[in-house]
């Protein structure tokens, strides 16, 4: 069983005892009448050919408190889009599929581009951002939940626990991040365990506990792709379009809202999804790209908060990170030993070396271009630049789904 310790400066909602899913869902059905919920699912077509998606669809079909599912489908032809429509038809409530590669949505992206608004490269960040725009345009839902579509251990408990803190008006959080343990016969989540946590703690040492780092360190799984927020948060937040999406989103929430209205919730006993290869040699793919993008996002957020970076700072950071990460390996090794999990210390050490190189690469990129790739503009700015864009987006999605 989990403990009930409150971590850091945000609220942590644990899994204590045997919480009843039926009770949570009954309450959600009631509260969702006043605060309708939209579930955003960024997905590739290839995920519909995998093992996870059928299970997710089957579970979502049993959910009664979600008003609408907005599925953003990328890398799919017209025929594949129609196929996905048939697969999602088993869900008894409204489903809208945004065909990212369709002619209408491509024209919407073209409209952004010619008005100087850059929604970034094709990826999860851009897909999620477009889905938020559709939910805002629809004007029906007050809460947006989001999770990935490659979760092998999916159950409807996940969206229930994820939505509960935001939907329940007595709790009234504006943003809720999911956390979980990624454990099978061994510990997964290398980037969170071996990069994010040691990096943030090293930076805290060097910056004398900068408030943003204290905030970031409060999250048990900051790279979790599962979160829930109010529609207002989706309207004002600016998010990165690369792998720095999760950290960048947390940074925006930190800037715009008080930590008292932010929480994290234990959403699953166990969580399993696709694993990326380390690809230590290539900074443009795999976990290395993720490492570089995440580090860039952290550095730029800190820079915007007034932290001054220098060559000496980054050298010290790399040394501090390596030391902290090596200590972290020892802790996880002990944790794995007592729980009978497989633990390959050499692989973990190789990962740390690769992540240290990644930090160096990110520092180099940061020095060359401190401003970096612009964040995706928030929807308030977009509607100011193109007044009818939300109606256009809604029309495009409705026509695609006709």
């Amino acid at each position: 069983m989990a403990d009930f310790y409150q971590t850091g400066i945000i609220t942590t909602l644990h899994r204590l005892g045997n919480p009843s899913l039926e009770r949570i869902e009954a309450e959600l059905v009631e509260h969702a009448k006043a605060r309708p919920v939209a579930l955003v699912l960024p997905a590739l077509y290839s995920e519909f050919e995998g093992k996870a998606m059928p299970g997710i669809i089957a579970e979502l079909a049993k959910v009664r408190y979600i008003n609408k599912i907005v599925l953003v489908l990328a890398k799919a032809s017209e025929k594949e889009f129609a196929n996905v429509g048939k697969l999602m038809s088993s869900i008894p409530y409204e489903v809208r599929i945004i065909h990212n590669d369709g002619k209408r949505i491509r024209e919407i992206y073209g409209t952004f581009g010619r008005n100087g608004l850059d929604p970034g490269e094709d990826g999860k960040g851009r897909s999620a951002w477009l889905a938020y725009g559709y939910v805002i345009a629809d004007g029906v839902c007050d809460v947006i939940a989001l999770h990935d579509c490659d979760i092998l251990t999916y159950s409807r408990e996940m969206p229930a626990r994820l939505c509960y803190p935001v939907v329940n008006p007595n709790l009234d959080y504006v943003f809720c991040k999911g956390f979980y343990s990624r454990v099978t016969d061994k510990m997964h989540g290398r980037v969170t365990r071996l990069l994010i946590t040691p990096l943030v703690r090293s930076l805290r040492t060097l910056t004398k506990d900068h408030p943003f780092l204290t905030f970031l360190d409060s999250f048990r799984y900051p790279l979790s792709g599962e979160f829930c927020m109010t529609t207002d948060v989706a309207r004002v937040n600016r998010i990165p379009s690369d792998w720095g999406l999760e950290v960048g989103a947390l940074a925006e929430v930190y800037r715009n809202y008080s930590p008292r209205r932010i929480c994290q919730v234990d959403i699953a006993e166990t969580y399993e999804h696709k694993h990326q290869a380390l690809s230590a040699e290539d900074p443009n793919k795999g976990l290395m790209k993720m490492t570089v993008d995440i580090c860039k996002s952290v550095f730029r957020t800190l820079a915007s908060e007034g932290v001054v970076f220098s060559d000496g700072f980054f050298k010290t950071l790399q040394a501090a990170y390596l030391r902290m990460a090596e200590d972290t390996i020892m802790k996880f090794e002990a944790d794995a030993a007592i729980n009978g999990l497989t633990f390959d210390r050499h692989e973990e050490a190789k990962a740390i070396e690769a992540f240290a190189d990644g930090i160096g690469m990110a520092a180099q990129v940061f020095f060359e271009n401190p401003m970096g790739t612009a964040l995706i503009p928030n929807w308030n700015r977009v509607t100011s630049a193109i007044p009818g864009i939300l109606d256009m987006l809604k029309k495009a999605v409705e026509e695609d789904n006709r």
């Binding site: 024209e107 073209g110 409209t111 864009i389 109606d391």
Partner: protein, 233 residues
């Protein structure tokens, strides 16, 4: 035998003569049409480049013209649509001019009617364009005025004004195009007349109490003044 041969050859000879008379006109028509299509294609290319250089698409996005096109499920860029319209207009003109070269009476009449109708089309398009701008402007002005005055139903009023003006300008455009003018005028009269009567009745019924208060308030003020100018606390 010779008689039979001449009976067979005579129609063929006549047909050949007619064909020889028709052929130059036909070739002229083909030449004009092909040349016209080429000019139309060239104009489309030049216009597209010019509109892109002028950031026409971006202007249409901000003016709401793109949004109007999307409502009609038209998803091409405004510059592409404009260039396509010009292309087909020039193609139609070149076809009409080409047909004129055939020197056939019935076709000549059709071509004349086409060219006489073109100014109506241009003026109808202009009416619709101006009408769209005016209705948008007035709708926004009403919205701002009503919001600033603190009255309710600002968006409803603004949308109503926009709708009424759109109906007015659409009727003007249809009348310009001579599309069932008597029906358009009758329908417009009935709709607008009905709206005005409904407003008058609703204002009259709802405003009875207010009117009474205003009148009674006016009477009281008049009586006060009659009593004299001296007032004290």
């Amino acid at each position: 035998m010779e008689g039979f041969l001449s009976l067979v050859m005579e129609p063929l000879r006549e047909m050949l003569l007619k064909f020889r008379a028709f052929l130059p006109g036909f070739l002229a028509m083909l030449t004009i049409v092909v040349l016209g299509l080429f000019i139309a294609w060239l104009s489309k290319k030049i216009l597209t480049k010019t509109l892109n250089a002028l950031k026409f698409d971006s202007w249409c996005d901000r003016m709401g013209i793109t949004a109007l096109m999307r409502k009609g499920d038209l998803w091409a860029k405004p510059s592409e649509v404009t260039a396509a319209v010009i292309f087909w207009l020039l193609a139609a003109v070149s076809l009409m001019v080409g047909l004129n070269a055939l020197n056939i009476q019935a076709i000549d009449n059709l071509v004349n009617k086409f060219f006489l109708y073109l100014p109506n089309v241009f003026s109808a398009v202009l009416i619709l364009f101006v009408g769209y701008m005016v209705s948008g402007f007035l709708g926004r002005a009403v919205l701002i005025a009503v919001v600033n005055s603190g009255l309710g139903y600002a968006k409803l009023l603004s949308n109503s004004i926009r709708l009424l003006l759109s109906v007015l300008f659409l009727s003007m455009a249809l009348e310009q195009l001579n599309v069932a003018p008597s029906i358009v005028i009758s329908a417009f009269t009935i709709i607008f007349g009905g709206i005005v009567i409904a407003l008058a009745v609703s204002f009259g019924v709802a405003g009875i109490e207010t009117a009474r208060k205003i009148i009674e308030g006016g009477k009281t003020e008049a009586e006060k003044h009659d009593k004299g100018d001296v007032e004290h606390l």
